[in-house]
């Protein structure tokens, strides 16, 4: 059993998987001698050489497209997008190419490409180093979108990502990189996509959260527990496809649901989850489904009071839990 931070979980898993599978290579901006701006690929060029850890030209569309080409040939590329905010130039390659390769060839061509992207705010990154992009991409059939939040989940899901034969957008909340530590067993395991995880068992209401918000939700649940409010916390982990069964099972038990995400409110993951609950667990509900999310403004502002205003935090989540609990 080792205790790792989220970033260490990523680096260690990439190295282990590259030792296992010679077809895995990494490309992205500054991934080589610099070891990535967040140091996610630290030490990899020293171990695997520059043929497998490839500093890319500063051009996101081709960082994904070269990965697509290599993937259809039979390699397992890992394309790192330096900040999720910069992924937009690759939108066409991700949505029209990678995500449709299997479908458009009726299953004859596949695209096993892992795209890692640090996302999320709270790190003074301003409008263009803080964005949450998951809703945009979770809308696309054929593209796995995952957002594991703990070292255990990161290890298991990154291993799985490097084994599936479809493209994966692997979202890493950058504020959790060094903030979150956790135990990772020495025994080998993988975590399949489409499986949510009950991070805290409770009976009064269900909170659904992922990424940094999962940790805030767990803190808020701990606070209200002192007042006898029992909160169940579910981490969907995979955002597309969602694990409906685990979500519905919990909501049917508690009768109340609160969804938290940092991505802005309108048409976010919460909207889809609320719709699933409304259509498949209506008779079990004792209260309206509630959401705590980023405001509908273009992105996270830089100046601290405005940044704090944007970010859902433990206080905001605690207030929502109390309000829903009292309904």
């Amino acid at each position: 059993m080792a205790t790792l931070t989220n970033i260490e979980a990523i680096t260690r898993t990439l190295a282990e998987e590259m030792r296992r599978d010679p077809n895995i290579f990494i490309t992205g901006e500054d991934v080589g001698v610099r070891g990535g701006v967040f140091r996610a690929t630290k030490g990899l060029i020293e171990e695997f050489g520059e043929s497998r850890v490839v500093d890319a030209p500063l051009a996101e569309s081709s960082i994904v497209a070269v990965g697509i080409g290599a993937a259809v040939y039979g390699l397992r590329p890992v394309s790192e997008i330096q900040f999720a905010d910069f992924i937009a130039p690759a939108f066409n390659q991700i949505v029209n190419e990678a995500a449709k390769m299997r479908y458009r060839s009726n299953g004859t061509w596949t695209c096993p490409l892992v795209m890692r992207a640090p996302y999320g705010g709270g790190i003074s990154g301003g409008l263009y180093h803080s964005q949450s992009i998951e809703a945009t991409y979770a809308h696309i059939p054929g593209l796995y979108v995952v957002a594991p939040a703990t070292p255990y989940d990161i290890v298991g899901m990154l291993r799985h990502a490097l084994r599936v034969d479809d493209p994966v957008l692997f979202l890493e909340h950058k504020k959790t990189y060094r903030l979150i530590k956790g135990e990772v067993p020495d025994t080998y395991y993988t975590i399949p996509f489409g499986k949510a995880d009950v991070k805290r068992v409770g009976s009064d209401l269900t909170v659904i959260a992922y990424g940094l918000m999962l940790h805030h939700a767990l803190d808020a649940a701990e606070r209200v527990a002192r007042d006898g409010i029992s909160v169940e916390v579910i981490d969907p982990r995979t955002l597309n496809p969602l694990d409906k069964d685990t979500l519905l099972e919990s909501v049917k038990k508690t009768g109340k649901a609160l969804i938290i995400h940092e991505d802005n409110l309108t048409l976010g993951l919460g909207a889809e989850i609320a719709a699933i609950i409304a259509s498949e667990a209506f008779e079990w509900l004792d209260a309206p489904v509630m959401r705590v999310a980023g405001p509908d403004i273009p992105a996270v502002p830089f100046s601290p009071p405005m940044q704090d205003f944007f970010m859902p935090n433990v206080d905001k989540i605690e207030n929502a839990i109390r309000k829903l609990g009292a309904y």
């Binding site: 030209p57 569309s61 070269v66 080409g69 130039p89 060839s105 004859t108 084994r163 496809p241």
Partner: protein, 342 residues
């Protein structure tokens, strides 16, 4: 003496100088002819709306056959675009395959009727499935070439596109990667001078697409895109360079599209009939017939015979596809995700 004379004559026979046998050059002619007759039938089928859409490769046959002929079929990779009918026929797709796609019928090998016609793909033939947004295949071809270099095989990649696509960022990004990493890829621009209605002069400020190669540190070569042997010669050299590990080449085949962009276009709205007629005189099929007649491989009777044979093949494909069933509606649901094996 007699031997020397024979050798001198042989060198004047262009295809032999390029290392092509008489049979091979006749095979090239057949591929061009078959692509043309198939394409013409597709236009005819669209007229009474027996099919919903056709996008044509007429006029591009020399550029396509000349390029595809330089590949090892089923070994090298091709990432074509939607005009590449003669390319994929040369690489081994069949008229029946392409007719099934035109009619959107069950068993169509590129996509089983999911894609519009002419969105080619074949795993068995190493023809990578393409989309409709232009130029996306160019950096992907660089990625395939990157994988080839990574696996240390001597395969090469051919990717094709029109001159309009060279305005896209993906064109620049793909050639940039190929230059940086010395990748075994041939970028074939089939410059037919129009991006639907917009002439090349409004797409770029340089006279030749090939001029752009300098910006990526790779050779740029201009060929007569209506002369199959000129294209083949340049392509053969580019393939050899790529196999030797010397990297990418941009080939610009100057040609013309004597037909509208697609069955939904009307080219009378943007260019003169005189211009189109002028280019029809340089038709690549006619050019090939003239050449083969000059070197005594073709004559009037053989031309008639090969036309009759092409018509037979096209009739068969048309008949076959018309009578093929449609895919069932629920086939739309399959192959979104793969089976997870963990």
């Amino acid at each position: 003496m007699a031997t020397q004379v024979a050798e001198k004559i042989a060198l004047e026979i262009t295809h032999r100088a390029l290392g092509l046998s008489d049979d091979q050059v006749l095979e090239m002619y057949w591929a061009m002819l078959l692509a043309r007759r198939l394409d013409e039938r597709m236009w005819i089928l669209h007229r009474p709306h027996l099919v919903a859409f056709h996008i044509s490769g007429i006029g591009h046959e020399a550029a396509q056959v000349g390029a595809a002929f330089a590949l090892k079929r089923g070994y090298d990779y091709a990432h074509p675009y939607y005009r590449d009918m003669a390319t994929v026929l040369t690489l081994g797709m069949t008229p029946r395959d392409l007719m099934l796609a035109l009619f959107g019928r069950q068993g169509e090998p590129s996509s089983n009727g999911r894609q519009m016609p002419s969105h080619f793909g074949s795993r068995a033939l190493n023809i990578v499935s393409g989309s409709s947004p232009v130029a996306t295949q160019i950096p992907q071809a660089a990625g395939i070439a990157f994988a080839i270099k990574y696996k240390k095989t001597d395969q090469v990649v051919l990717t094709c596109f029109g001159e309009g696509s060279t305005a896209e960022g993906d064109f620049h990004e793909g050639l940039n990667w190929a230059g940086i990493h010395t990748l075994p890829v041939i970028f074939l621009c089939q410059n037919n001078q129009y991006a639907i209605s917009v002439p090349a002069a409004k797409q770029m400020a340089v006279p030749n697409v090939a001029d752009r190669a300098r910006a990526y540190g790779i050779p740029g070569v201009i060929v007569d895109g209506n002369d199959v042997l000129d294209v083949y010669g340049a392509m053969r050299d580019a393939v050899a360079r790529a196999r030797r590990g010397q990297g990418a080449t941009l080939i610009e085949a100057k040609t013309y599209r004597p037909v509208p962009h697609s069955s939904d276009d009307d080219d009378r709205t943007y260019r003169s009939r005189a211009e189109v007629e002028e280019w029809k005189k340089r038709d690549p099929i006619l050019r090939m017939q003239e050449y083969l007649t000059r070197v005594n491989l073709l004559n009037a009777q053989k031309i008639v015979e090969s036309d009759a044979r092409a018509k037979q093949v096209v009739d068969d494909a048309d008949e076959f596809a018309r009578n093929a069933p449609y895919p069932p509606a629920e086939a739309a649901l399959g192959n979104v995700w793969g089976q997870v094996k963990s």
